[in-house]
């Protein structure tokens, strides 16, 4: 099957056997392509993965650690074909990942995202509230994760309204105007999880969002610190604004095509393009459903750089496959946290900060 045809298959409609069959074919193409075109991927495949030529199972695919995209320039296209470099924010102070896209890859990235998001919000472009300040987009040369998220999602909306002004104060005037104009209409809201909590929920205003859809991403770390989990988050928004369609969203700059949206079980769901494997930290063996481990993400899209199979530092648990209440097929999972930075201290760190 050609990838273009694969894009036309309805999201979340592929059952395990079919999905695996398609994915293995695509992944074998990618594997060979990256072996040919990325010296780094080839070296790792040779040394760690026995120089595997063809995979029979998705779990056989070599994987790069997510850190490799920070430490090395990984691409499978010539320099002159690079159209766009995405940098991930990473944690403060750390080197960002750099992801190299050619034009084809950039188009695919948009298309894949669109297929997944419109499955949830519908094809119509909706009036959109962005729970952030436009100032995070100012420096277009280096996309921050937040900026990239906003830009990526804003194509699904129209008449965009940024809830915060440049000083991160709620623009009440603008909000009233926006509400008046779109009264009773279906609205799309997007923001980072902690921004939504801080600047939408915790603010002293109330509007009717019962017709609206919220998509939020960015992780729970900041909210965990104040003991807000997904359930509290959703209940609170429902109670205050009547907002019931709330979707958590997880993706990473390092892997095009891996956009995971919350399903009916409150879990993140693999789209047609991607799959996850939970790996046991003791030996990287594949965990059974319900066992905790490091999340490996796999996508059939990354072609301009060897990012089709990445071992993340996120700890997760796979909770089901093909059996979500809302009928979505595919694996679904939860993220439980992130591997701590290993506490390794040398003789040589008396004065390191």
């Amino acid at each position: 099957m050609e990838i273009a045809e694969y894009f036309d298959i309805e999201q979340y409609s592929l059952k395990k056997e079919d999905k695996q069959m398609y994915m293995i074919e695509f992944l074998n193409h990618l594997h060979k392509h990256h072996l040919m075109n990325s010296e780094e991927y080839r070296k790792v495949s040779q040394k760690i993965f026995n120089n595997i030529a063809e995979i029979k199972n998705i779990a056989d695919l070599p994987f790069l650690p997510i850190n490799a995209f920070k430490n090395f320039t990984l691409k499978s296209i010539p320099e002159e074909a690079v159209y766009k470099i995405i940098t991930s924010s990473g944690t403060t102070g750390s080197t960002p990942s750099r992801i190299f896209l050619d034009t084809e890859m950039a188009q695919m990235q948009t298309k894949a995202l669109s297929k997944i998001v419109t499955h949830v919000i519908g094809k119509e472009r909706l009036p959109m509230i962005i729970v952030d300040s436009q100032s995070v987009l100012k420096d277009r040369s280096t996309f921050s994760a937040r900026g990239a998220g906003i830009l990526g999602l804003s194509i699904f909306g129209k008449n965009h309204f940024y809830l915060l002004d440049k000083d991160f104060n709620v623009d009440f005037e603008g909000l009233n105007e926006f509400i008046a104009k779109n009264n009773g209409k279906k609205i799309l809201i997007f923001g980072f999880t902690f921004m939504v909590w801080q600047y939408l929920y915790l603010q002293n205003f109330n509007i009717d969002l019962s017709q609206s859809i919220l998509i939020h991403s960015g992780g729970w770390k900041k909210l965990q610190d104040i003991a807000v989990d997904n359930t509290i988050f959703k209940n609170s928004l429902q109670k205050k604004f009547g907002l019931s369609k709330v979707y958590n969203f997880y993706g990473m700059a390092e892997q095009v095509g891996s956009v995971f949206i919350e399903n009916s079980e409150g879990c993140l769901h693999c789209p047609n393009y991607s799959d996850i494997i939970i790996r046991n930290p003791k030996d990287f063996s594949v965990c059974k459903q319900g066992e905790e481990g490091l999340i490996q993400v796999i996508s059939i899209l990354p072609k301009s750089y060897p990012g089709h199979s990445i071992l993340t530092e996120d700890i997760g648990i796979c909770l089901g496959e093909d059996n979500a209440q809302n009928g979505w097929k595919g694996k679904y999972f939860k993220i439980l946290g992130r591997a701590k930075k290993a506490e390794i201290r040398g003789c040589s760190d008396t004065f390191n900060k």
Binding site: I48, N67, N71, D283, K341, A342, E343, S348, F351
Partner: protein, 411 residues
């Protein structure tokens, strides 16, 4: 100047010029003073009796080392300092110790040796050291120096902690006659970069790396129990400080033929790994990420010097190297480079000035002597049996620390 925290002799925040060693200018202790031996012995008893401290293997080792019998043995070995007719040995004065933050007992070895020479001591402890056992140790020392019997030592020991503050480092350096700088290259460079009085004596401990060597003929003569015992010793040498102690092996040399090497690799990995699994307390998830990241970086950066990768699990990484290129440093946490050695001469091509410890199994005295001789002017400061890599000795990194921390006066 900013204030600093003085932890010993009593816990107080004060100006650096007010710490206890500056409060009394006399030097009543002589070299190898009986009072000092008694003080260290008392500290040893305190440590070995304490219900918490006596469960910490590193601190217990220190406790045994401080015992009167051991100290007397050390003195005996250094008798020449007192018995030589052509010079007289005196304390050097005030010694400023910059202590490492990983090997949490090191500060006390450094202190004990300097005290034995009759010196006063300022110890700068990393503010990161929030390990409760070490804090308990400070408390025990404080109790001791506040007692009537040992109050003299309050003017001999100031343990302090402060941030990365250059003028305090410089001030304390300038008040001292010698500095003992643990903590590796960056700390050594930092302290050497300060403009301090030129006569100050520096004893420097920059970054070092260490190796282990197994001779495979004798290894395969061991019983299963003996092999397990050997693995346990090797574990203590390496995993105790996350394989990042200067004396913990990063490279394992296997002296034997190819088949022996392959067999050893598989068998010893399995024995060591099951021991690590139940005894190593560091979080396996972060270690798995750490080691896998390092492995991938190694493969990309040093592909030509890596042969086979043997990682049946994430507790122990075995990376076979050849002599093609420089391999990188281990990331720690149980990441070992392996090399199949055909002869002892071949070992020497891996030795450079940075190599500190060679811990071995199965070598006889002749072979050890051969290595000593082959390593002249190249490296290796100590050759010890596996299991003793972390044992502290007053001879360290090529220094006799006692002999360094005194002045010899002509008669």
């Amino acid at each position: 100047m900013e204030n600093i925290n003085q932890l010993v002799p009593y816990n107080i925040e004060l100006s650096p010029d007010k710490i206890s060693v500056f409060q009394n200018s006399s030097f009543p202790l002589t070299v190898f003073d009986e009072r000092c031996i008694n003080f260290l012995n008392k500290l040893s008893q305190t440590i070995l009796k304490d219900p918490v401290l006596k469960n910490d293997p590193g601190i217990v080792a220190l406790g045994f080392w401080l015992r009167k019998s051991n100290i007397q043995k050390i003195i005996k070995e250094n008798e020449y300092l007192l018995t030589n007719n052509s010079f007289k040995t005196s304390p050097i004065g005030i010694v400023f110790h910059i202590c490492p933050s990983n090997v949490d007992t090191m500060f006390l070895y450094s202190l004990a040796l300097s005290l034995l020479m009759g010196n006063k001591n300022i110890l700068r402890i990393s503010s990161k050291s929030d390990l409760s056992n070490v804090n308990l140790l400070y408390f025990k020392i404080s109790e001791l120096v506040q007692s009537d019997e040992f109050q003299l030592f309050a003017y001999y020991i100031s343990i302090v902690s402060y941030g990365h503050i250059d003028n305090i480092n410089i001030f304390l350096s300038n008040q001292s006659h010698a500095r003992v700088i643990w903590g590796g290259d960056s700390t050594v460079k930092l302290f050497k970069s300060y403009q301090v009085k030129p006569r100050i004596k520096d004893i420097l401990f920059p970054n070092r790396k260490s190796f282990a060597l197994f001779k495979l003929d004798p290894y395969f003569g061991l019983s299963d129990n003996q092999k397990q015992e050997l693995a346990r010793k090797f574990y203590n040498d390496t995993y105790s400080f996350d394989q990042k102690g200067c004396s913990s092996a990063q490279v394992i040399f296997l002296l034997g033929d190819k088949d022996q090497f392959q067999n050893f690799k598989i068998e010893f990995h399995s024995i060591l790994s099951s021991y690590v699994k139940y005894n190593y307390k560091n979080d396996i998830t972060s270690l798995a990420s750490l080691k896998y990241n390092h492995l991938v970086s190694d493969i990309i950066d040093h592909n030509n010097s890596l042969e086979k990768i043997f990682i049946p699990d994430n507790y122990v990484y075995f990376i076979e190297i050849n002599e093609n290129e420089a391999y990188s440093e281990s990331c720690g946490g149980g990441y070992f480079y392996l090399y199949n050695l055909k002869s002892l001469e071949k070992l020497i091509s891996f030795i450079n000035w940075d190599v500190q410890t060679l811990s071995y199994f199965g070598l006889d005295d002749n072979e050890i002597n051969e290595i000593y001789q082959l390593s002249y002017a190249k490296g290796i400061d100590r050759i010890v049996p596996i299991g003793n890599a972390l044992d502290f000795n007053y001879i360290w990194d090529g220094y006799n620390i006692l002999d360094e921390l005194c002045v010899k006066k002509n008669l």
